[in-house]
Symmetry: C2
Subunit: 327 residues, 2 copies
């Protein structure tokens, strides 16, 4: 007799204000510093997990196509974590899709592993605390921990697996920030974040970046809670610059910026001097996330569209965390 | 009765392989780390100093025009150093010109203060050792110390004014390196190097950059002496990336790169992978210095000319140091 247990979850991408870059433990994705982010409304992964007793191995369909062996292996490793925690032995059929380009500076793996964790747990009929779900998602992809709680989310450093968890510091409606994303390249980046995290310690500058991260996070958390855009803008750009400084000085160096990236960053600084409430941040990719207060978002969008090399502009408000769609 | 003592000197620009960025003493330009450079043949300042007893104040003509008060003040401060050392009280008439664009990533102040020091000393009829001349030039502009000795030049950290001097580690003919300079902007940069040096300590990353500088310099010195291009390329690009990482994370951040700068850097890395002997380095400006072995220089020049945003390409071999033209 075959039992079939299925659930579907959606989880948002998120954009970090204070960046995660580098692990102190790669197997468990225990980070070198705590981080802070905002979920992106409308940019999500939707994942259906079916635990199927009669299936000989895990399967993965990604955006409508049978996934690469590499992608399947990474998902299967995460399913092993779930099987162990949920005490089940079945293989899983996983069907996942993103509604945004993968691997290009919008955190697709964060959304994917958050959705996989929430759907896989629900499909097994087990209820876990949000806090524990964030720690499990973290093992699949560090920043996935931040795609589970709602709105503005802090991922704590923690001393060990159990307390390196994420939690909401404010709901989306606390502050109507908009992420106006200038897409400069749809190409898949050459070095994925997972490999990048392993290279962080090859930079002479990583230790200095990490040493200041807790105080930058405290400044940023307070700026979010007080809706203090000027302070927010300064610390967010600085933290992004620090991460890319580490990347560019790693061995081998990682240059994620493309020529239009640089032009956009300069424009954003100028627009802010001219009075718009906008600042930039970049993940491990060439796209520029222009974080705005709502009053400035349309002007920023229009201005971005005039910059050479900007192929698309997407807007996302602060959004909810992961949620179960069915199951 | 009027006495008129005049001398003219030429001094080359230089390009640093291991960068000078940040002082431990700003008044004396005592650097935070030692540096290493190559003089650029054919890119020079030519300066005539006339000590004139009957002149009420110093005067400066720069590239055929009466200079700004700001430029005159900086030159006059350096003339005070010379007057004090040379034991003269006359004011000076200074006429200087560069044969390359100023303030755009080719070290114009290095050439200018080296030439001013050599001409001013000769015009006073005093003979000083090359070593002492480099320490005096250093007070005017740190990297000017490196534009006096010939060829490949190391500027020592030193403990005090007297021993923070520069000396040649190899003559130009030791290694036929060519600097193929991609000029991407003739515009004067917004933050001069002098102000930039003062901002270095506002970056969280400066201490880490400085901490590794002596070992990078040792690697680079050996690579120059052994004409080991692969080692040279890696350490030179890394050191440049480190300096720009510090600049971009200073308060306020200094972004010297323009969009074509980034495109050129990426191209250079690709060309080297394809077998050309080329690497890049950037000073405090947007132009990219593509350091090549002679066999690769023409190919690099041609390739640079096809990159969008490159407005000019100049080539300079390893060159001699400062020399007296007349006087």
């Amino acid at each position: 007799m075959t039992s079939l247990r299925r659930a579907t979850a959606q989880a948002p991408a998120n954009i970090a204000f204070i960046k995660y870059w580098g692990n102190r433990d790669h197997r468990w994705n225990l980070p070198q510093n705590a981080s802070l982010s905002m979920n992106l409304d409308g940019l999500y992964a939707e994942t259906t997990v079916t635990w199927a007793d009669d299936q000989p191995s895990d399967t993965l369909v990604l955006n409508g196509e049978s996934a690469s062996q590499e992608a399947l292996a990474r998902v299967s490793t995460h399913l092993d974590i779930l099987r162990s925690r949920l005490n089940i032995r079945s293989r899983a059929e996983v069907i996942s899709k993103n509604n945004f380009p993968m691997g290009a500076g919008i955190a697709s793996s964060a959304a994917a592993f958050a959705a996989l964790t929430v759907a896989g747990t629900a499909a097994a009929g087990v209820e876990l605390s949000e806090r524990e779900l964030t720690t499990i998602a973290r093992i699949g992809s560090g920043s996935a921990s931040r795609s589970i709680p709602t709105g503005y989310v802090e991922w704590h450093l923690g001393e060990a697996h159990e307390n390196s968890f994420a939690e909401s510091i404010a709901p989306p409606e606390h502050w109507a920030l908009i992420d106006v994303i200038a897409v400069v390249s749809q190409a898949h980046k050459r070095v994925g974040s997972k490999a990048g995290h392993r290279s962080a310690d090859t930079s002479d500058l990583q230790a200095a970046r990490v040493a200041g991260a807790a105080s930058r996070l405290a400044v940023c958390r307070r700026a979010v809670l007080e809706r203090d855009f000027a302070t927010f803008a300064k610390v967010v750009e600085h933290d992004s610059n620090l991460m890319h400084a580490v990347m560019m000085t790693s061995d081998p160096p990682l240059f994620y910026w493309l020529p239009p990236t640089l032009a956009i960053m300069e424009s954003v600084r100028n627009w802010r001097e001219d009075g718009l409430h906008v600042c930039y941040t970049l993940d491990a990719g060439a796209n520029v996330h222009c974080l705005c207060e709502q009053s400035s978002a349309d002007a920023v969008r229009s201005a971005l569209q005039t910059i050479d090399g900007v192929v698309d502009v997407r807007m996302a408000s602060a959004g909810q965390g992961a949620r179960l769609i069915s199951g």
